[in-house]
Each structure stands twice: as structure tokens, then as C-alpha cells.
Amino acid sequence: MIRIISILTGLFFTAALLWSLTLDTIQLSKDGLPHTVEKAYVNHHLKDLKLKSDGIFGKFDKAQLKRGFEVYQGVCASCHSMGQVSYRSLAALGYSETEVKAIAAKATVSAKDPLTGEIKDRPGQPSDKFPKVIYAGVGNPPDLSLITKARHGGAAYVYSLLTGYEAQQPAALLKEFPDAKTGENMHYNPYFANLNIAMAPPLASDDLVTYTDGTKATKDQMAQDVAAFLVWTAEPELEQRHQTGLWWVLFMLFATVLGYMSYRNIWAEKKGH
């Protein structure tokens, strides 16, 4: 009985699926395979970006992170928040305590006055997080703290996006998808998910910042540095993770080998081959 019910149930699902399959095939023969602008024109082959933090032994290049932070402060921070990062953690970039205090003090933080209980503006302190940037223009600049973890491709995506703006849309694109035409106040960027991005090219020219370490601030250099910096803001634990992991995995390998040897030893007589 149960087998008869089972076979009937199986045939019911099969019939329902065949019905869907038939109607969908008819539809497909009319429409053809979907041809979307995302598939045809969004560039998923990101530019190659090599960072010192890559790989099992990867460590941050502190000089690069500092430069990246200078780019963030000088360029990105006018529109983008970085709300998960606190000033005190900048010490990891090699800033001294006094330097961190000085950086924090440049920011204005709105906080409760401990004496009066009023919400007041005061200079930032190392314990504060980066304050929220209120952006008044068109578009919705995302918080950058986690951006390299929140996009496919991570740092390479950030780097590609920043350096990937193109002045002209391909003629074929406009012919095929007239809707994809870059609108007013929008900018064409083949690395962006729908090709047209509200953000104007942020690194449009060289020397937008003056690096304290004297490195020449080319567009490409700034893009690389800020991408490296954003890896740090997203994964400040990266170095500790890599180092701990190395010892931990080596220890586990050693324990596994010992475990395997004792297993062989215990079973030596039992297998009976």
C-alpha cells in the first residue's frame, strides 16, 4: 500500500514538473535564452591586485596602510562613513598614541556631555568610532568599514572600480541596451553591478593627497593603497588570524599524525591480512 501511494506521489510531482517544463520550454522557444546587460557588459574579470596581506603568510604593509588611510581621509571621507573602525585601532597602522589622539581630535563627535547630560559636539577621542558622514548629494555612499568583505572580489574589486571608469560607453552596448545609457550625474564604470554609478571618479587626477612618506601619489598608487587600507578596516584581525592559524594547523597536523600512528598500532593485529 505504502509503495502504491509513494509511486502515485512520485508521478504527481513528475506530472507537475513536466507541466512546468513544457510551458517553460514553449516560453523559452519564443524568448530565447536571457541576454542581460549584467551578463554581457559588466566586467567580472577584476584587475590584478597583489597585496602583502594575501596568502597564508600575508601581513599588512603598514606603510601602505598609512598611505591608504591618508587617501581615505583626504578623498573618500568626504562622502563615505567608516563607522565600525575606532580611532584607537589606528595604532595598528604604526601611529603613536599622540598621533592617534591628534587624528581623533580633528574629528567632531556628537556625544553626551558626562557632566550635564546634554548631547554636544566635542573633539574626537581615541575611544570614539569614526563619526557618521552625512552625505547630501545624489546616491547612497555605503559605509566603507566592511566593503572588501561585502563585495565579490574584495580589494581587487575596490581597486578595479576606482581605476575602471570609462568616459565613453561602447556603441554596441547602447545599441543593444538603450536603457543602459549613462544618465545625468551618473558615470559609466564597467566594474559596477549595473554599469552606471552615482559616484564621480574619485581619483580623477594624480596628487589628490600628499603622502607623508613622500611616495608619488599617482591615481593607480592611491587606488592600490586605499584598497589595501580597506582590507585592514574589514579584517583588522587578519595578521593574528594568519599567524595563529599557522601554528594551530601545524599542531593539528602533528596530532593527526600521532593519532594515525596509534590507530595503526592498535589495529595492527586485528586486520588479520
Binding site: 506521489t9 514538473l17 517553460d24 535564452l33 536571457p34 593527526t256 593519532g259 588479520g272
Partner: protein, 427 residues
């Protein structure tokens, strides 16, 4: 199972004698995972995944309880408290990455454990209860994993809650009120997050309880084995300790190496980037995709695209998705072949491997966007999935001619069994 030759617990210290009289806990452990539990000697490495699954459950409970000490189950703080764990809590990143990848590892291990059961007929009499409890555990795991995924309150968390609770609204008449009751509102919100947190904390302990029942019912008939031939004599078994503690022990090490490589070196490889974007009810992600361990079921859900007879397409998808797992409950009665192991079932074995390929294809399609040609392929793959369990398995089990079985476990290991020779000479 206690065989006549099973060893008995003998306390070696007066304190243990005292304890054994009052509360025979050491005896219980001895009989469950110690020298008192006799196990077939021929288990292959596919039998290690039960122990590993238990180990994963422990990892999840330990990391999860500590994470809960630092997490805030409120929509205004959930995302930031997760980042607080990642940045400010000592070793918080290790706990969270360990927990998220631990869930993936748990599912990987469980899938191998389940497919071991399909191949070796572990669900067959007298082990039906073990199987039924196992399916219950799997269902609880799915619920727990889903609710855990909602907790960080990222974009994928929010939209997963939206999609999965939305499934219930396809139920006729009661659907919409049921969905609102589950969510505690008209859309996922604070009430939803709070109850998911509560249940996500509760369910692992329910799983632990069912795991104990699962092991208890296992110890009635004893473990199955790759030949599917029942234990006949003392030479067929070895005590669990030290033989299987040693074998399970070293694979725990191997498991830890692979798991740790994920936790320390590719902690986000299995996750979706969108979940690092805070939940935003006003912005639907381009592709809503569950974690990899739900992909095959997601593909089944989406393969029903057209209304059929009186059934709404969405309802059919939901029914099929749940049926895809519920059908496992009936497996012990659908497969009536008296031979357990597929090693001796040439026809069933072919269909088993077809099922493996089919589920892998469904997994790939569950990740793919809901567009052609993926939908057509998933319709065919879903069709095979149901035909396999509901039609092919019952029919194959009645028409198949199995290969000859070995006389005993001992014979299958050593090539000959003294007990077998004795019987043949006598007759």
C-alpha cells in the same frame, strides 16, 4: 547491543565502585563508547561521520554559547554587535568564523553520513528508528542553521527570513496569518530577530537530546557494517574502545585540519558578501541565495514555475521542498530489498550514484540565478530526485537480483570464517 561476549564494566578504584552503585554513569559511558560496546570490525571510513557529526555539534554549542554572551538580539544593534565580536572581543573573530564555518562543516559531515545510509541501507530493519531520529535531527539542523543565519542581520539574513517565512504564506487559507504569526509582524523585524535568537539557542539542545535518542536506538541492534550482514560471532566484532576511539580519533584530527584551514585562511569563502551589508528592507539584493548546504532544496523549490491543476506553483514548490526531506522518513518501507548494502545490489548501486550526481547538479542550480536554462535543468533534476525515492527505489527493490553475500563479517575481512566451514562440513 550487548552481545554475549561484550565486556562488562568493572570499577578499578573504590571511588568508582561507590559511584557505580549510586549512579552507574561510568558504566553507561563504558557501554556506549567504551570497551563494552562491540562494533563490527569491518567498518570503513564512511562510518566515521557519525562521530564527527557529534564533534561538530559540540563545536557549535561551545562557540555558540560564548558568542551569545556578546551578541545583541535586537535589530538596532545586531549587526554592530556582530562586528563588535569580530573586532573588540578577545578571539571573537575566531569564535564567529569558527561558528559560521562550523555550521558548514556540520552539514558537510551530515550529508556524508546520510549518503552513507543511502548506500549501505542503514535505514533498514531493525534500524528504522535510528534512521527516523536521524531525519528529525537533520530537520532540526536546517531550522537551526536558518535562524542562526538571520542573527547577524545583514542583507542576506533579512532577505532569507523574508523568503523562507514567505513560503508559509503559500499555504491555502491560513498562509498569511500563519506567516504573520511566525514573524510577529508583517515583515521580518525586531520580534522576528528576537524569537529566532531564542530558538537558535534552544534548538541545539533539542538536537543534542535527539542525538542521545539516536545513539540509544543505535545501541539496541548495534552498528551496521559495509557488508550489511549481521554480527554472528565474537570474531565479527571489536570493542569500541580502543579500536574505534583510535580510528575516530585520528579522523577528528584530519577534520580539524580541513576545518581550521577554512576558519583561519578562507573564513568567508562559503559565505555571501551581501551579508556584510546591514539589513535594508528597502533594497532587495540582486540574487537571494541561501548558504551552500541549502542549494539543492532551493533548486527544488524554484523548479515549480507553473500552476498545476488546482495547485499554485509556489505551493507546489514548497510542498516539494519539504517532501524532498520527508520522503526519507518512508525509505525503510519503500526499499523492501532484504539486502542492505549496495555493494551487493548491482542495479540499486547504479541508481544511487545517479542520485549523487543529481543532488550535486541540484546544488549547482540552487546557486544559479532563477533563469533559463537553469530552470529547465532543475526541473529535470527535481524530477529524477522524486522518481528515485518514490518510484525507482520501490520497484528496483522488488525486481533486483542481488549478488551473493558473504557468510559473515569475518569471512568478508579474512576471506574465510571457521564458523562457516563448520556449518558446511556438518551438512
Amino acid at each position: 547491543m550487548s552481545f554475549p561476549w561484550s565486556k562488562q564494566y568493572t570499577p578499578s578504584h573504590p571511588v568508582m565502585t561507590w559511584l557505580d552503585e549510586k549512579l552507574p554513569l561510568p558504566r553507561l559511558v563504558y557501554n556506549a563508547v567504551g570497551g563494552g560496546y562491540e562494533v563490527p570490525r569491518n567498518l570503513n571510513y564512511f562510518w566515521n561521520f557519525g562521530f564527527l557529526a557529534g564533534f561538530c555539534l559540540v563545536i557549535q554549542i561551545v562557540t555558540g554559547v560564548i558568542l551569545a554572551m556578546h551578541y545583541g538580539g535586537d535589530t538596532s544593534v545586531a549587526f554592530n554587535s556582530t562586528e563588535h565580536i569580530m573586532r573588540d572581543v578577545n578571539w571573537g573573530w575566531m569564535l564567529r568564523y569558527g561558528h559560521a564555518n562550523g555550521a558548514a562543516a556540520f552539514f558537510a559531515v551530515i550529508y556524508l553520513h546520510i549518503f552513507r545510509g543511502f548506500y549501505y541501507g542503514s535505514y533498514k530493519a531493525p534500524r528504522e528508528m535510528i534512521w527516523l531520529l536521524g531525519v528529525v535531527i537533520f530537520l532540526l539542523m536546517m531550522a537551526t542553521a536558518f535562524m542562526g543565519y538571520v542573527l547577524p542581520w545583514g542583507q542576506m539574513s533579512y532577505w532569507a527570513a523574508q523568503v523562507i517565512t514567505g513560503l508559509f504564506s503559500s499555504i491555502p487559507l491560513v498562509g498569511d496569518p500563519l506567516r504573520e504569526w511566525l514573524l510577529g509582524g508583517f515583515a521580518p523585524g525586531n520580534a522576528t530577530l528576537n524569537r529566532f535568537f531564542s530558538l537558535h539557542f534552544l534548538l541545539p539542545f533539542v538536537i543534542l537530546g535527539v542525538v542521545i535518542l539516536h545513539i540509544w536506538s543505535l545501541h539496541i541492534p548495534g552498528s551496521s557494517n559495509p557488508t550489511g550482514v549481521e554480527v554472528k560471532s565474537e570474531s565479527d566484532t571489536v570493542p569500541f574502545h580502543p579500536y574505534y576511539t583510535a580510528k575516530d580519533g585520528w579522523t577528528v584530527g584530519l577534520f580539524m585540519v580541513i576545518y581550521s584551514l577554512f576558519v583561519f585562511y578562507m573564513p568567508n569563502a562559503l559565505g555571501h558578501p551581501d551579508n556584510y551589508i546591514p539589513a535594508n528592507p528597502m533594497q532587495t539584493p540582486a540574487h537571494i541565495v541561501p548558504e551552500w548546504y541549502f542549494w539543492p532544496f532551493y533548486a527544488i523549490l524554484r523548479s515549480f514555475t507553473q500552476n498545476f491543476l488546482i495547485f499554485d506553483a509556489k505551493l507546489l514548490g514548497v510542498l516539494a521542498m519539504f517532501a524532498a526531506i520527508l520522503v526519507w522518513f518512508f525509505l525503510p518501507w519503500l526499499d523492501k530489498s532484504p539486502v542492505r548494502s549496495a555493494t551487493y545490489r548491482p542495479l540499486y548501486r547504479k541508481f544511487f550514484w545517479l542520485l549523487v550526481v543529481d543532488v550535486l547538479i541540484l546544488g549547482y542550480l540552487g546557486k544559479a540565478p532563477a533563469e533559463q536554462p537553469y530552470v529547465l535543468i532543475s526541473q529535470l533534476a527535481t524530477m529524477y530526485y522524486f522518481l528515485h525515492f518514490l518510484v525507482i527505489v520501490p520497484i528496483v527493490s522488488s525486481i533486483e537480483r542481488p549478488d551473493p553475500l558473504p557468510f559473515s563479517i569475518t569471512e568478508s575481512v579474512l576471506g574465510s570464517d571457521g564458523a562457516a566451514k563448520l556449518t558446511t562440513t556438518k551438512s
